[in-house]
Subunit: 333 residues, 2 copies
């Protein structure tokens, strides 16, 4: 326990920042009629009856005269997509409102669009709060959308996902003592992978190719004109090596064509192959849309962020499939 004597402002700030918050921008209009706004995460609800909310503003803030002089101000609970807006109003830059389309709030105060929630307030009390002034406002009007809110934690923007009630089990029974449990990340990712692949597998079956051929076609759809070795650089992390006979089978199916260029065999997608690949991608996108609808946009985004971090953290050194293609090495020689 830190004693008051050893109070370190940085450590104090770090301890405070463990408390998760949303992010708001609070706006008003200055005495000169100019719109004024400031990012604050010190917002909180106070009272339901009467409806009161509060937030704190640094006494050193340039916007203090505006908020002290105008009883009307609006709290915007920012949505996950409004991170840039948050950053803009957290800085001291000029003309923060440039290019922002506004609704008109009570008493002509500025109101942002596309927020998660908005509260139009009139100052009920201002209270002394050390180096800050506490504004308690009566809520005169409010509205709310379904946009997922932006969160803030430990000094970083965050997204919050609903915590499962203790253990979210897939099955209906409590798990017995078993060393291999469904709580293993490898199991969960594997099962999610195969379940998502299910619809695609049926399409591949009708196209008379397997999932490894799907990987090959996907790679060629992004980067055409590759050697077998180059294809394998992108595909072999799946644990299976693409062989020449697989490629010749795909040529027989009319998906690819093999061409000798500068003495090296390269594979190109045919019109048929591209069409098959696009059909596969369209299906994958439909599956994705379905999953996004089920999980919700915010949780889908969180899932993707975490998967990308996991992929980066366990990357065996795969080449970047989407990097601008280099001219073939043999052509440079």
């Amino acid at each position: 326990m830190t004693a008051p004597a050893s109070f370190n402002p940085q450590a104090f700030r770090a301890a405070l920042s463990t408390f998760t918050t949303g992010v708001t921008i609070i706006t008003t209009r200055g005495a000169d009629g100019e719109p004024v706004g400031v990012t604050a995460n010190s917002f909180n609800s106070v009272s339901l009856n009467p409806p009161l909310v509060l937030w704190s503003l640094a006494k050193s803030a340039l916007s203090l005269p505006a908020f002290s002089g105008n009883k009307h101000w609006n709290v915007h609970v920012l949505s996950a997509d409004q991170q840039l807006l948050s950053g803009r109003f957290a800085s001291r830059g000029e003309d923060k409102f440039a290019g922002v389309t506004l609704d008109q709030g009570i008493n002509d105060t500025p109101l942002f669009k596309d927020c998660t929630a908005r509260f139009q307030c009139r100052t009920a009390f201002t209270y002394e709060g050390g180096d800050h002034l506490i504004f308690v406002g009566e809520v005169l009007a409010f509205d709310k959308t379904d946009l997922p809110p932006l969160a803030f934690q430990s000094g970083q923007y965050a997204l919050a996902t609903c915590k499962a009630r203790e253990t979210l089990r897939l099955g209906s029974e409590p798990p017995p003592e078993c060393s291999y449990t469904e709580d293993l990340l490898g199991y969960l990712i594997g099962r999610a992978h195969y379940q998502l692949l299910d619809a695609l597998r049926r399409l591949l079956h009708s196209q008379k190719i397997d999932e490894y051929a799907f990987f090959v076609l996907s790679v060629l759809c992004i980067r055409d004109n590759l050697t077998l070795e180059e294809i394998n650089q992108f595909v072999s992390y799946t644990g299976r090596e693409v062989t020449l006979s697989m490629m010749l089978f795909l040529e027989k199916q009319g998906c690819v064509v093999a061409e000798k260029q500068f003495g090296v065999l390269r594979f190109l997608l045919t019109a048929t192959g591209r069409e098959m690949s696009l059909e596969q991608i369209a299906l994958a996108k439909a599956v994705e849309q379905d999953v996004t609808d089920k999980l919700g946009a915010s949780d889908s985004q969180i899932l993707k962020v975490l998967l990308k971090r996991l992929i980066r953290d366990t990357d065996p050194g795969l080449p970047d499939l989407w990097a601008p293609a280099q001219p073939p090495v043999s052509a440079q020689a």
Copy 2:
């Protein structure tokens, strides 16, 4: 925009709850010396110099006399594992402190262990706040752990994960216009799956079996004595049917033994097979630990929660591998 006249308390509460918060329990000691505590998410920081924090307490709260009478109280920013504690102190139950081990705070106030952060405060101001009283406390001491904090949003417990700076790309270049992008959930899950499988695949190679045999051994390790049909009920969602010849190959490898029971062929794990399976599981757990270390405990948990939701939402109707085994149907006949 809702007009004051149509103020619906439920809608107001719903709009307020879109603002994400952490969860705190605030404790003190009553005039009778008994510990008192209440869950609050109205906590927030106010001032750095002097160090001030605030929270609001309903005027109707049973604990109001205790907090009004004792200038010393402690704010506990709860960790993700303290959800049950939060629920207990949010209710009006008797003896909330039963079984809770306490540290001793300033002036003998109760202090919980294993929180994300703790602030020991002395009331600096109490302010009028409608149906609540606002307590502003000077922070006399504080401490902080690395435990991930509990969050609260839209009426539910939540976990917050750091939001990626706009788009977290795996590769180094901005993605070109391509219909199949690395932002596709199916791609991300597939790539994560294969990357996590990498170490295991090398073990399987040394064990001279493939990943489908690994699935079979895992199933038998949890549920022994299955027919080929029963094994396939658990494995076929991977897109590959386990065949009799695969099972006979595993028998030849010494992993399983086939036994005719009531005229039906059933497969049992041998001691060798169990040992191989346990070796695989131990490796899977080591990989898991490594990933958890890299992602952090909180984000690993979020990832699992979201994968479980995805799996449930896309479940083709798989039987519960971990449900208590039924006696073989043929034995009941």
